[in-house]
Point group: C2
Chain length 344, copies 2
């Protein structure tokens, strides 16, 4: 594949471990509800219309590049495209979040899933990527993503968001064989999904293990890392970032997985993250999203402290989790600018 | 004060760092919804009737001693007794959890709180302790408890349970001065509260920092540990257990705090917990509550593995968080029995 030349390729150089003039910066959920420009589109089009209409997804994806000036775009989409492609009825209930009325409740329910054809069913995602790449005009790289198989299982079994995903975990511990079948099916589809995203033009991919931190370290290996590892082994042509929220205990596995970067949440001190991960992998993170409510001078001070802790190289500045809706845009921009103006 | 002699004082010896024949065992929320005997009382009496009627609280507290055979009782009560004593209208909404309609929304709202008299307002707790101690007849020690000031602030500002307590954290970062005033007021009352619990007869106390893991390590010191430390410094006459969920990064502070034990959640491998905490403090935990849904032989295997990891001494077997409602009683009992039957 011909290498694309980006006007700003800072994030790819950081992923590649090169010495950079300053760390690149982007924010998880940067195309989201804190942006008034996004809220206009959110009021006009429902969730699946937004992610399934390529030009709309492209417009939303590019908003934060123009408005807050981040160094990478991440496709406006959702990790629940995969359960939908597997045949479940994924709904987005405003003010409540995802709801899957026909969620998996027993091992017999697995028969309802349709693994074959699932990768192709997500053509709308690949089309959105192509539209975004075209509209971006090589300004910055576009990132693709998928949920980790464990995190996807959580939603497929629980049927909705949850504090502890007790139903999903209970399903695994009561029916380990069925749980592993389900995880394998999700993994197979996710590998195809990410490879198609790369073919459509994303320059790197992130795996979101948002609920990995609900598992103890031994169960994490069996129910999550095993499948993340398969994905890393089979994804070709783009660097992989693994973000496991609450998964500090798995950094050693991430480092040895072949992934190019680890996404770090805000509960891990920068120096601790580096100790846990070793020196040979890029780290990404980890500003507490709610700290963006602090006064701007405090945001600037804390951002500098964060970069001092991680170091300028092998580091991608980001939040430690997604940006929340009530962050003032000037505060988000202050964070981005503090990274851009960083001096050691 | 005359030392009480208990028929089973295993937990006090473990807290004291003595060599024991086997680890003691109890379970967070052991007096709770998985017990049919508790559900009978829950249907008859509302939440505050249950915790404010000494004989009822005593009966509920003692149920798990009789039914699953744990080595310690923990008072049936709630951490939200403190916000209630401070003057807020704490309600328990069935199926939803706590709700505080007049929660703190701005610094000016602090003027509504009544610190003076708050410790005395919780006389019903001390009466429940006296009734329980009498009914227990020295079979096992009774534990008292309180929420950490940070965790109590979370509820007082958010007004209800939450996944990320964004309002509560936002309040702290937008109004740090008011946040520290509130934390100090909660701390003052909590010190008096725990000392009165000890005078009424509890043999040890646990501080629940259920939401400590929502703070980054630097903010944790400022907004949580500073106040936990004051409590440990001022509580007299009984050992203190600190349980900080998700707070692996603070174990060093806990170890140096003067507390006798650290409550460990299930995401920390036993050997890692010991490394983080050092050798001089008792550890308590850390069976994944949802792992109690596994078949009984698996529960037995995992319990043995857990004790092997922590070691027999300076260890109190427990869950890594509260037991959940849908655990079959024989599974809970299998966990307790596996500890009692432990052979290295």
């Amino acid at each position: 594949m011909a290498q694309t030349t980006y006007k700003n390729d800072l994030i790819l150089r950081a992923l590649n471990g090169e010495t950079v003039e300053r760390p690149p910066v982007w924010m998880m959920r940067q195309a989201g509800r804190y942006l008034p420009e996004y809220m206009v589109l959110r009021k006009k089009y429902d969730f699946f219309t937004r992610i399934q209409t390529p030009d709309l997804a492209a417009e939303i994806t590019i908003q934060p590049i123009d408005i807050v000036g981040v160094d990478a775009a991440i496709l406006f989409s959702d990790i629940l495209t995969v359960p939908k492609a597997l045949g479940l009825d994924v709904q987005m209930v405003p003010g409540k979040g995802p709801w899957i009325p026909d969620h998996i409740q027993s091992p017999a329910d697995l028969a309802r899933l349709t693994e074959s054809g699932a990768v192709a069913d997500m053509q709308y995602v690949y089309d959105a990527i192509k539209a975004t790449v075209k509209a971006l005009d090589n300004r910055v790289p576009l990132l693709g993503f998928a949920g980790s198989p464990w995190t996807i299982l959580c939603y497929m079994v629980e049927g909705q968001g949850s504090k502890n995903f007790a139903k999903a975990k209970g399903f695994c511990f009561e029916h380990p064989k069925a749980a592993h079948q389900l995880l394998q099916a999700i993994t197979n589809v996710t590998i195809g999904y990410l490879n198609e995203q790369i073919k459509a033009g994303v320059a790197a991919v992130q795996i979101f293990d948002s609920w990995g931190g609900l598992l103890g370290p031994v169960d994490y290996q069996a129910y999550s890392m095993n499948y993340i590892q398969q994905i890393i082994d089979e994804v070709e042509g783009a660097p992989v970032i693994v973000f496991g929220k609450g998964c500090w205990f798995a950094y050693d596995s991430y480092t040895n997985s072949g992934a190019q970067a680890i996404g770090v949440d805000w509960t891990i001190a920068p120096k601790t993250a580096r100790e846990l991960a070793g020196d040979k992998i890029t780290l990404q993170g980890n500003f507490d999203p709610i700290r963006l409510l602090s006064p701007i001078p405090e945001i600037e001070r804390l951002t500098k402290e964060m970069i001092d802790g991680f170091g300028k190289d092998r580091f991608i500045a980001n939040l430690g989790h997604g940006i929340i809706p009530n962050i003032p845009v000037p505060h988000a921009k202050a964070f981005v600018d503090a990274v851009k103006n960083y001096k050691a």
